[in-house]
Every structure is written in C-alpha cells, then in structure tokens.
C-alpha cells in the first residue's frame, strides 16, 4: 500500500482520537508535543504548551522546589515523546497539520496551482519559529521575574502563545465550540495576541489555497522537535552517490526543503523543517538513494520500481502490470 495513504489513515485516526477521544474516555495526557489543542473540550490528549507556559510564570526561586520538579517531569515526558517519534508528530499525528493537508487535497481537486517562496524568502523566515519558541519561554518567565532591568510583565501576557495560536481558534470549532473566535479587548497584550490569532486563522484558510503547510514553517513546536533531530529514533538517510539531484524530492516537499536535494554528503537529512511526511522517498527514482530508518532499521526505501508504480497511479494499471509481470 502507498505510504501516503497509510499516512492519511494514521493522520485521520489520530485526528479523531485527539479531537473527539474525550467522548470515548480516551486520555493520552496533556503533555503531547503536537497541536492537539487543550481548548478542544473533547480532546483525547492535548498539547503541553498551555501547562508549560503557566508553569514558567513564577519566580526563579520557586523552581528549586516542587515547581521545578513538575517542570522537569513535563520536559522529560515531552523529550521522550520527541525522541521516540520525533518529526512524525508533525507529519503523522498533528491534527492541525492534518486539516491543512485536507485543504491541500481540496485545492488539488479544484486544481489551483501552488506557489513557492523564493529561496531567499524561505531562508529568511526560517528563524521565526525559533524566535516564537524563545518568546513563549521568555514571556512567562518575565511574568514571574523582573528580568533585564524590566519590571515584571502583567498577567495579561500569560500563556502568550496559546493566546495567539490559530489552533486555539479553529480546532474547538470541530467540537462545535465557536467561543474561541474572539478578540480580547480587556487588555493591551490580550488584544494584540488574540488579534494575531484571528489573523493567523484567516491566513490558515487563505494560504491553504496557495501553499502547502504554510503555518508549519513558523510553528514553535516544529522548532522544539527539531532540537531532537539528531537523536530521534527516526532518521532519513541519503546515499549521495546514488542521488542524481533530479530535484523531485524538493519539488514534492510540502515544506520546500532544499537540502534534501542539494546535500550529497550529509547522511541524516531530518533537517529543521522536515515533518517526516516521506513524500521525498515517494518521488525518489533511484534505488536506495533515500531511506527512512527507525532505530536504524530500514522502514521505507526509495526504489525505482516503487517510483514507477506510484507515478503511473491507479488510472493506468498497464504500467503496474508491466512492472510486476517481470519481477
């Protein structure tokens, strides 16, 4: 079976479990490194960022006690999740990513052409996700502590990322809850952050008809997970000599990663923006040029025959039979 189909099924299952799992008493905890929003009432497990940001909003001295241990526990659980599944959280589990993929399917159906960033633009905005990650740690710390000679930030800044996250606005809608669509006029920071959330939600829909996984490029969760790229269990290997640099991989990549095509020497190509969707392996025509490994065991390998089969598609069984006939 086609890996992309398997991925779609896995995404669908995890979407259902994470968005509606609560209805069936499923609870996978609230320490997950993925955008299964905690504001979704019936969630079957949620994003760790809400709790994490609240935990950070206390004086440094308190971290030497219970609070510190609780924080370490959260980080421990998240790290473990991140090491075992690394970027598969983005490409295979994230419900928010799944909805973006569905919108891309809709775009293809009505045959709207995709647009690509200029290489320069793409490179320039790569740091945004790390800045967001830093801010979602620093701002809560600034609430509990006077840092850098500034006074303590007001409580209106609490859980700043959640306030601006488009998943908070959009995902509850799938639970029939429209109450997160608002702009908080009660305070300056609140107004700023919730307006950002509304704008990003709008972008979520509009960009889906122009690009693939637009918001993922700026996701601080991706930045966080990318810290585990080198030690994660899943790796993406490349055999440089077999690579013809045909560019299929980078053209098919929803994250517009160029390294996958350009690199001939780097062995592990799970780069910072990689979401392990494995599209690159799908379209690689060279035997064993690309390979996904889990704990160093080959899971999915690029093959010429596989490529031909996928390219011919189901509409032309002729090619498939031609390939298999002579196997």
């Amino acid at each position: 079976m086609n890996v992309q189909r398997i991925r779609l099924i896995v995404q669908f299952i995890s979407f259902v479990v994470l968005t509606y799992g609560g209805l069936f008493y499923i609870d996978m905890g609230n320490r997950m490194p993925t955008f299964s929003c905690a504001f979704v009432d019936d969630n079957g497990g949620s994003c760790f960022l809400v709790g994490f940001q609240h935990m950070l909003a206390r004086p440094f001295s308190e971290f030497w006690g219970d609070a510190g241990i609780r924080l370490l526990k959260v980080l421990g659980v998240v790290s473990l999740w991140a090491i075992v599944l690394n970027k598969a959280w983005c490409g295979w589990i994230c419900p928010f990513g799944f909805v973006q993929d569905l919108l891309t399917k809709l775009r293809n159906l009505i045959s709207i052409d995709m647009s690509r960033f200029a290489w320069m633009t793409r490179t320039r905005y790569k740091s945004v996700k790390y800045i967001l990650l830093a801010l979602l740690i620093l701002i809560p710390l600034g609430i509990g502590n006077a840092m850098l000679g500034m006074p303590k930030l007001s409580r209106d800044w609490s859980a700043p990322f959640c306030q601006m996250c488009p998943a908070r606005v959009l995902m509850p809608i799938l639970n029939g809850d429209f109450s997160e669509i608002y702009i908080d006029f009660s305070s300056g920071p609140g107004m700023f952050l919730t307006t950002a959330a509304i704008v990003l939600s709008g972008l979520f829909f509009t960009t889906a008809f122009v690009k693939r996984r637009f918001l993922c490029s700026y996701c601080p969760m991706l930045a966080l997970l990318s810290l585990f790229d080198k030690i994660g269990f899943t790796t993406l290997r490349k055999d440089g000599q077999r690579c013809t640099r045909c560019g299929n991989c980078s053209r098919a990549c929803p994250m517009e990663i160029r390294e996958i095509e350009e690199e001939k020497t780097m062995s592990n190509l799970v780069t910072q923006d990689c979401i392990l969707c494995m599209r690159c392996v799908d379209v690689c025509p060279e035997d064993e040029a690309l390979q996904i490994r889990f704990l160093n065991m080959p899971v999915y390998t690029a093959t010429e025959k596989g490529f031909l089969q996928r390219q011919s598609g189901s509409s032309k069984e002729q090619v498939e039979s031609e390939i298999t006939k002579h196997d």
């Binding site: 045909c246 379209v283 490529f307 002579h326």
Partner: protein, 427 residues
C-alpha cells in the same frame, strides 16, 4: 535561369554521391552487426529502422496519420510536450561520416563532426526525414549548437531554447522553466493544438512507460555474462530517435522478454573472461559504430555506456507531484535540466557520481573515454574524469577521434592493448 538549373543539378549530383556512400557504409556496418552471431531475434525490428538509411531514409520515420514531425537536436528538448500536441519528435543528431564534408561548407574546420554531419543532411536531400520537419528545436547546449540554429534557419524554421549552465541555482531553474513555457507556446502555434492537462498527462505516461522498459532493459544488461552486446544495446537506444515512443516500447518489451529468457537459459553473447568495458564521452550515433565495433571485436564486451544518445536519454523520468498543469510543466522542466549529466554544466558532481555508480552496478573493469574532435565540453572534462578513475582504481583509455574511418587500425591497436591490460590486472 540556366545558371540555377546547373546549380540544382550539381546539388543533386552531390546528394546522390553522399547517398551512395552512406548506403555502402551502412551496409558494411549492418553486416558487421550481423556478424556478431547469437543475436536476439527481436533485434530485427531495430535493424529494419537502420537499414532504411541505405534507401535515403525512406521509412526510417513512419509518421502516423496527420502527425507533424518536429526535429530535435539534443536530449534537452522535452519530448512529452511534442507528443502532447500530437506531433512526433525525431532526434536529428547524426553519426554519418558521408555528410561531414558538406557541413564543412557552413562550419569551421574545428567544429565537431556531429554538427557538420547534421548540417550536411539538412543542406542536401539525402535522408528524407531531415526535410519533413515542421520545425527544428535547438537547445543552446554546446557552443556549436548556438550558431547552428542560425545556419539551419536557412532550411527550416528553428526554435532556439536557451540553456542555463549553472543548473543548481534558483535563477537558472526559473529561467529554464520560462524557456520550457516559451517552447509550449511555439509548439502550440506550429501544430495548432493546445496542450491540455489531459493530453500532457497522457504523453507523460506514454514516455514513462517507455522508460519502464528502458530501465528493465538496463537491469537485464547487468547480467553476467551479458545476454546482449553493447552494440545491440546502443542500437536499441538509437532507434528511439526515429521510432514512435509507443512502437519502441512494444518492441523493447518483446526484446526484454527474450533477453530474460536468455538469462534463464544462460545464453551468452561474449566470451567468458572478455574485458568488461564502459564507454562514455561524446555522443555516439548510428552509423558511427567504429569504436564499439573495435571494442567488441577485440575480445571486449561493452557492458555499460553513458551517452546522451543512449543511457542518459531515457534514464530520468518526469515525476508528477500534484498533477496540476503548472506542476506537470515544472516537473518536465526539472527532469530535463536538473539530473542531466551533460558536461555543458558548470558542476560535474552529478556526472562523476553517475559514472561511479555505473561502474559499481555493471562491474566495469575499464573505461573508454570517447572524444569527438571539436567536442569541447567532453574534452574539457577529461582531466576531471581521469582523476576520478584514478581514485576509483579503474583504468581509463582516452580516445580522440572523428567520423572518418582513417584511424581504425590505430584505434584497434590501442584498444586491444588496453583490454589486454585489463585482463592482465585480474591476476
């Protein structure tokens, strides 16, 4: 008036002379090919195509009903697009010695024999399919081709496709994509057919099917001992120039079936212990069978090649991603530019890796690097490849030659010595 008739007859006399000479040398080569013995039966289909060269190219290209012929001069011309308009691409790269002299009236002495030969056939009515083309498509790949377009425009409308040389860069890719789009517009105008999403998808799949058979054929060539000679393999690939892709696919499919049968029955075409040679360098087009013939007559076997007229021609495939019109056009542009191992590009990394991979896959013992006199891109790269082979520990023989039969004996001595050395190395 009398002046003109006189000129015309002179031209015709010349054409007839070339025709007769060509027929003679083609006959000779076909005889040599048939001397190989133990040839696959299904090679007859391909032999027929080349035998037509004896009769002025009558029937070399058999256009289907209403099919317009578009002549192409390089492997950079996206044939998917031509088929999508219902026209038929015919690659006019030529290997005939007989027309070189005519080409010398148009090009300097130092030009490579291939362009001279091509211009010769355009200038004189020798091979009919050269004169049936609705349009000629010329990618500005090497310097000779750049000027050739202007010369050829005397004989037929020429569409020039500009080529970037630094294919890694964003600007080059964008530029090439625009060139491909410009080609689409010109094609649509010439053929009067609009390339729709459906038509393009069909033609992409049609060529993909040919490539499936091509890749199968090349997997079969990995068999040791080989079940098909290098000359036959070159012939099969060369036939793609003139044949309709569907007919070619069907014929290669039959041939592949036969060859697989041969593997099972352990039929061999070369002596066990023959030196395993890879041939690469300047393009090699029928009837320029000089070098492969010598290699295989001197107890060598041509197990692999890396030519734009053979292995490189169909190796890379269009990979459709989203399937929208712009995605398919983008995929086509990428397929022709990015994986190309042509030495006109600034970076030879891809070519080097490809050669190393072929050496590994086909257990190559020695490489013969073929340079046509005047073929600068390959000439420039010789040192780089020499160094690469030294590092790999594979001996390499560089031969510089042209289409003339004068140096056959000298080449024979050198190639024989080289192949003996290879066998001596086995220890």
């Amino acid at each position: 008036m009398t002046e003109q008739t006189k000129k015309l007859t002179k031209r015709e006399r010349l054409a007839n002379k070339v025709k007769v000479n060509l027929a003679m040398s083609v006959r000779e080569i076909m005889d040599q090919i048939n001397d190989q013995g133990n040839r696959p039966e299904n090679m007859a289909y391909f032999d027929r195509i080349f035998e037509t060269f004896e009769h002025g190219g009558e029937g070399t290209v058999q256009p289907r009903k209403g099919e317009k012929i578009i002549g192409t001069y390089c492997l950079f011309v996206p044939e998917e697009l031509i088929y999508a308009t219902g026209a038929r691409p015919v690659r006019l790269c030529s290997g005939a010695y007989e027309s070189v002299e005519i080409g010398e009236d148009y090009l300097p002495e130092g030009a490579c024999p291939m362009v001279k030969s091509e211009i010769g056939f355009s200038a004189l009515p020798v091979l009919s399919f050269f004169h049936q083309c609705e349009m000629l498509v010329m990618p500005a790949s090497c310097d000779w081709k750049v000027k050739m377009a202007e010369i050829l425009s005397e004989f037929a409308p020429v569409h020039m496709m500009d080529m970037p040389r630094v294919k890694e860069e964003e600007s080059s890719r964008a530029f090439w994509l625009e060139e491909v789009k410009r080609f689409i517009k010109r094609l649509e105008k010439v053929t009067g057919v609009r390339i729709t999403r459906r038509r393009l998808k069909q033609s992409i799949q049609m060529i993909q099917r040919a490539q499936v058979e091509f890749h199968r054929f090349h997997r079969i060539r990995k068999a040791t001992p080989p079940v098909i000679t290098g000359r036959d393999a070159l012939e099969v690939m060369n036939a793609y120039f003139y044949d309709h892709v569907e007919d070619w696919t069907a014929a290669v499919s039959k041939l592949n079936d036969e060859l697989e049968e041969r593997i099972r029955n352990q039929v061999q075409v070369a002596r066990v212990g023959a030196a395993r040679i890879m041939l690469t360098g300047s393009p090699m087009v029928f009837p320029n069978w000089k070098v492969p013939t010598i290699i295989e007559e001197m107890d060598g076997v041509l197990v692999a090649d890396e030519f734009c007229t053979s292995n490189r021609y169909l190796n890379d495939m269009v990979a459709v991603d989203e399937g929208t019109m712009s995605d398919m056009v983008h995929a086509i542009a990428d397929r022709y530019l990015l994986p190309s191992t042509c030495p006109i590009f600034s970076n030879s990394v891809d070519r080097k890796d490809r050669l190393l991979q072929l050496i590994d896959d086909y257990q190559v013992e020695g490489v013969i690097y073929h340079i046509l006199k005047g073929c600068h891109p390959y000439d420039v790269e010789t040192k780089i490849i020499e160094k690469l082979m030294e590092g790999k520990g594979v001996p390499m023989l560089k031969i510089e030659t042209d289409y003339s039969p004068q140096d056959v004996e000298q080449l024979r001595t050198r190639i024989e010595a080289f192949q003996e050395t290879l066998k001596g190395r086995r220890g």
